[in-house]
Structure formats: structure tokens, C-alpha cells
């Protein structure tokens, strides 16, 4: 546990010491502010505060596009580059379990994203100050869901970082995989016929977007959905650890 905490702290510090993280943070802020204001100032329907807030926290494609690219960019270097520079050799010969190394890295990246998503609270404060108090419960639930989903995609990013030897390739492949995972269920649902139905049933189990909409976005904290995200995150982390271990065998 001490080892895990040490790795987590180091990785988080590493993220904030790199310029990339600050650039990404700014991008998130501007991007979210743009869509927030876009909905808020919708002339046809008038200001809809809660809708605007939910949009920046998982309620629409802009958020997911952001998450699907940010998570790979944050995690791309964590294993591939450290494997090259030898830092992985340092970490994996320290008296810390391989799992703790991988989980510490995933937690650091997830914390970073959770922090980025909390910009929604700023928007909330802003509209509260302007006299249109948001639904704070719903906002918090959405933020929690966004952070859980971030954990899953960071774990997947780490799998890619462990699989591929250069950070950019790792990020590229992870983004591709994320988009496939995100876009496949709705695509398949639109198919007809028995094969499509079967496939749809299978894909239902990994349909992140639906699970998100089903609960967090609606402001309901449903343990089944929390478990959905945690279970898939754990599976991805397990896979990442196995890939790291198999890298040792390959040398």
C-alpha cells in the first residue's frame, strides 16, 4: 500500500511537471466553456442551466470525444516511454508489486481528469451567482460518473501504453480502440436481423455511453452502474499488468 501511494504521488507530480498536462487542462477548460455557453445561450429555448451542465459532464458527444482522446494522451508515456528510458526497470525492481505500479499510474491519470472535469463546478457556481441555481446533486453525480468513466479509459490507455513501444503509437491505437468501443453499440443497434440483435446484446455489456446516461446523467447513483465501470476498469488494469509482466518475459 505504501508503494502504491508512492507511485501515485510520483505519477501525479510527473503529470503536473510536464507541459502537456497544463495544455490539456486549458483545452478542457475552453472546450467545456464553449459548449456550456452554446447551450446556455440557445436562443430558441432560453437558458437551460442543468442541461448545459450535464452536457459538459458526459451528457453529449463533445464530452466523450474529449475523454476518448485525453485519457490516451495522458497515459501514453506512462509505460511505453518508461520502458525505453529504463525507469520501468527501476520501478519493477523496487519492492513494490507490479499491480501497484500500474494501478498507481492509472489513479494518477484518473485524478488528473477528475480535476479537469471539476471545472463544471465552476460553471455551476457561476450560474448560481447569476441567479439560476443548478441541481448540485445531479451535477455531483454526473461528475462522479465522468470520473469513473475516466478511470476506465485511463486503464485502457495503460494497456495500450504497455502494448506499444512508442507513446504516439500507443495513444493512436488507444484512441482508435476507444472510438470503436464507443461507436460500435449504436452502430450495431441500427442493424436489423438476428445476427445484429445478438451482437447488440453482447455489445450492450460494454456500452459505456448508455450506462452513463442510464444513471449518472439522470442524477441517480445506481450501484449497478458504478459496479459496471469499476469492473471493467479492474479488468483493463488486470490486462495491463499482464502485458507488463509478459514484457518482462520478452525482455
Amino acid at each position: 500500500m505504501k508503494g502504491l501511494a508512492a507511485i501515485y504521488r510520483r505519477e501525479l507530480a510527473g503529470l503536473f511537471l510536464a507541459p502537456l498536462a497544463w495544455i490539456l487542462l486549458l483545452v478542457v477548460l475552453f472546450y467545456q466553456a464553449y459548449f456550456f455557453l452554446l447551450v446556455l445561450s440557445n436562443p430558441s429555448r432560453g437558458p437551460e442551466v442543468n442541461e448545459a451542465l450535464s452536457l459538459v459532464l458526459g451528457g453529449g458527444y463533445p464530452f466523450w470525444l474529449l475523454l476518448l482522446t485525453l485519457a490516451p494522451l495522458l497515459t501514453m508515456r506512462m509505460i511505453s516511454e518508461e520502458s525505453r528510458s529504463g525507469l520501468l526497470e527501476f520501478l519493477l525492481t523496487a519492492p513494490v508489486a507490479d499491480g501497484a505500479v500500474v494501478v498507481g499510474k492509472a489513479m494518477a491519470a484518473t485524478t488528473f481528469l477528475a480535476l479537469a472535469w471539476s471545472s463544471a463546478f465552476l460553471f455551476g457556481l457561476l450560474v448560481q451567482f447569476l441567479g439560476a441555481p443548478p441541481d448540485w446533486g445531479q451535477l455531483f453525480t454526473a461528475w462522479l460518473g465522468a470520473s469513473l468513466a475516466s478511470g476506465l479509459f485511463c486503464a485502457l490507455g495503460l494497456v495500450s501504453s504497455a502494448l506499444f513501444s512508442t507513446p504516439l503509437l500507443a495513444a493512436f491505437m488507444a484512441i482508435l480502440a476507444n472510438i470503436a468501443m464507443f461507436a460500435l453499440p449504436p452502430l450495431v443497434r441500427s442493424l436489423h436481423g438476428p445476427a445484429g440483435a445478438l451482437l447488440a446484446q453482447v455489445l450492450e455489456r460494454i456500452d459505456v455511453f448508455r450506462h452513463f446516461q442510464g444513471s449518472f446523467q439522470a442524477g441517480v447513483l445506481d450501484s449497478a452502474h458504478v459496479i459496471f465501470f469499476l469492473a471493467w476498469t479492474a479488468a483493463a488494469l488486470f490486462l495491463a499488468v499482464r502485458v507488463v509482466e509478459s514484457r518482462r518475459w520478452l525482455g
Binding site: 505504501k2 508503494g3 501511494a5 508512492a6 507511485i7 504521488r9 510520483r10 507530480a13 510527473g14 511537471l17 510536464a18 528510458s85 529504463g86 525507469l87 520501468l88 526497470e89 527501476f90 520501478l91 519493477l92 525492481t93 523496487a94 519492492p95 513494490v96 508489486a97 518482462r248 518475459w249 520478452l250 525482455g251
Partner: protein, 330 residues
């Protein structure tokens, strides 16, 4: 303290380490010597638990490196060849991180950071960014990182590479000092490094142990590696001098030749340092002595001999160690 049995490692079809066995007792200082690609790094990576062996076992303090990996790792301070450091951290932050990884309390980590930085001579650079340090300074930070947990075993892969001659001397002195308290295994492809620091040497050649023993044992095995050099001023009766020298008791062989300037140079081999007897003979014969010196036997001869011999006799990859190895010395 370290017990390696029949250790092998392959990378695809390539055998990087081929069935090596050796033991290190507590407090021993052993040098791994071998040309580039001999398998030194691969062996050290298996000892530290980074690479799983393809075959054989490694035990450190009784713990198996595969089964009790964490126990083994907790006992080893390791300086990898690539000297991995977080360039964006400051020197002291890197060391504190190592302290946390090893489960040290904050106060203890800070205390030891001061101690090890003092030891490697970097106390005044504690706040420098690692990325801004020179190669030699980073090498010493790496050493400090390996020392911080005060491990029972130190595994140092090429600890003096990238250092200037003065720093080399300092690091050698440091290693000699450490060797009083710890078991040390260090590697180098540079012979004088090993000669200066390690009483015992293991010579690796293409993944095999080509020789294992103390420097004196190995040199003795080389057989008459040392000789007395005697240079006589002209005029010299070369044949006469040769027979006289050869007739001395204890002399095994004499090589004598006239140099271009007319003086004669002799290499006298026999039982050790025969300078006294040779000096007395020269005095009795009335020779004018220009030089009388004892040329110490060196590992270098053995090293080149082994490397050369094996390359020649076995062009293929399947080489068995020629001189007796681990079992003989243990």
C-alpha cells in the same frame, strides 16, 4: 548471499546467458568482467528480478527471485546500466521517492538522503534538477539511489561508465568503502575497473563463465604471467648472458634480444619476483644494468587470452567454458 544455479536466458533463438552458476558469500565483492554483449546486464537483471530466467534459479539471502520476488528486491540496491532517473525531479526528490518506495518514514528518508549525497559527493547539488546534471553527476545520483535503502546486496551495472578519470577514482574508493559493509556485484567491460575494486572476478564470455576466482588465483592460472625485465648496457655478449640467466635457480625461461641501440633486453620468467638473484648475478658478472624491474602479472593477459582463445576455437555460439569455473572456486 547470492546463489545462482544453472541460470539461462534466451531472447528468441539467441542464448544470452547459458547455464551459469556461482555463489557470493556475505560481504564479498565480485566483479563481472566481459566484453560488450557477454551477458552481464542480462544476468544482473535476472538477479534483481527484472527479467525472469529461462532456466535455473537465483536465490538472494535464501529467497527465490521468482517466488519471493519482493523479499529479494527489498534486499538489493540496483544501479541499472541505463541509470534511470526522473529528469524532471530534483536530486533530493528522486531520493525521497526511492525512500517512499522502500517504505521509509519521511524523516528517515531525509536523513539518509543527506548521508548518501554526502557519500557520492553531490551534497551541494541536492536541489538541482536531474535533467540539468552532467552524465557523471547523474551516474552518481544513480549510485545514491541504489545506496539509499542501505541494502545488504548492491548490484551495480557499469557504475563508472561516463565518469571522468578523477570521478572514476572517487567511485572506486566509494565501492571499496562499501565493500566493507555489503555484498557487492559490479560489472564492467573495462578491466582496470575490476582490477582496482574487486578481489574476486567472474569473467563472462558469450553467456558463459570463462573464469571465476580471486585475482591472484586467476593470474596464477595464467601461469608465469609476471616476469623480471632486465636491460643491460652494451656491449653485451647475448648468448653468454642468456645461458647465465637460465642457469640461475628458480628461472624457467629467458627471452633475450638485442635492441636497435645495441643494449640487450631480457625477460626472465620463473618463480615469482627474481630481481634479487638477477641483480646479484649482474653484479658478479660486471654487467651494467639499465633497468631491472618486476612486471606484475595482470588480469589483462588472462582476459585477452580467454576472449581471444574462445573466439578462435569456437566460431559457433556453442561454447563451453574452458578454464575451470564456479565449482572449482567455491
Amino acid at each position: 548471499m547470492i546463489d545462482v544455479q544453472h541460470l539461462s536466458r534466451r531472447f528468441g533463438p539467441h542464448l544470452a546467458v547459458d547455464d551459469i552458476s556461482f555463489r557470493l558469500e556475505r560481504g564479498e565483492v565480485v566483479g563481472f568482467l566481459g566484453p560488450n554483449g557477454a551477458g552481464k546486464t542480462t544476468t544482473m537483471r535476472m538477479l534483481t528480478g527484472f527479467l525472469p530466467p529461462s532456466g535455473g534459479t537465483v536465490r538472494v539471502d535464501g529467497f527465490d527471485v521468482l517466488k519471493d520476488s519482493l523479499a529479494v528486491r527489498a534486499r538489493i540496491g540496483y544501479l541499472p546500466e541505463s541509470v534511470p532517473l526522473y529528469r524532471e525531479l530534483r536530486v533530493q526528490e528522486m531520493l525521497w521517492f526511492q525512500g517512499r518506495l522502500r517504505g521509509l518514514s519521511r524523516a528517515e528518508a531525509r536523513r539518509r538522503t543527506g548521508v548518501v549525497l554526502e557519500r557520492v559527493g553531490l551534497a551541494e547539488r541536492a536541489r538541482s534538477l536531474i535533467g540539468c546534471l552532467s552524465k557523471g553527476q547523474r551516474q552518481r545520483v544513480g549510485l545514491a539511489v541504489a545506496l539509499l535503502p542501505e541494502p545488504e546486496v548492491l548490484v551495480l551495472d557499469e557504475p563508472t561508465s561516463g565518469l571522468d578519470p578523477l570521478q572514476r577514482l572517487e567511485v572506486r574508493a566509494l565501492i571499496r568503502e562499501l565493500s566493507k559493509e555489503r555484498t557487492v556485484l559490479l560489472s564492467s567491460h573495462i578491466l582496470p575497473e575490476i582490477e582496482a575494486t574487486c578481489p574476486r572476478v567472474i569473467i563472462l564470455q558469450r553467456g558463459h563463465i570463462a573464469a571465476d576466482g580471486t585475482q591472484t588465483e586467476l593470474v596464477a592460472r595464467l601461469g608465469g604471467g609476471g616476469f623480471v625485465r632486465l636491460e643491460l648496457a652494451r656491449p653485451v655478449e647475448l648468448e653468454r648472458a642468456r645461458t647465465d640467466l637460465a642457469a640461475l635457480s628458480g628461472v624457467h625461461s629467458v627471452e633475450a634480444q638485442l635492441l636497435a641501440d645495441g643494449n640487450a633486453a631480457c625477460e626472465v620468467r620463473g618463480e615469482g619476483d627474481l630481481r634479487g638473484a638477477l641483480g646479484a648475478l649482474a653484479h658478479a658478472r660486471g654487467w651494467t644494468v639499465r633497468e631491472l624491474s618486476w612486471q606484475r602479472p595482470t588480469l589483462e593477459k588472462l582476459f585477452t587470452h580467454i576472449a581471444f582463445e574462445l573466439e578462435h576455437e569456437h566460431p559457433a555460439g556453442s561454447v563451453r567454458a574452458a578454464p575451470p569455473s564456479a565449482e572449482g572456486a567455491a
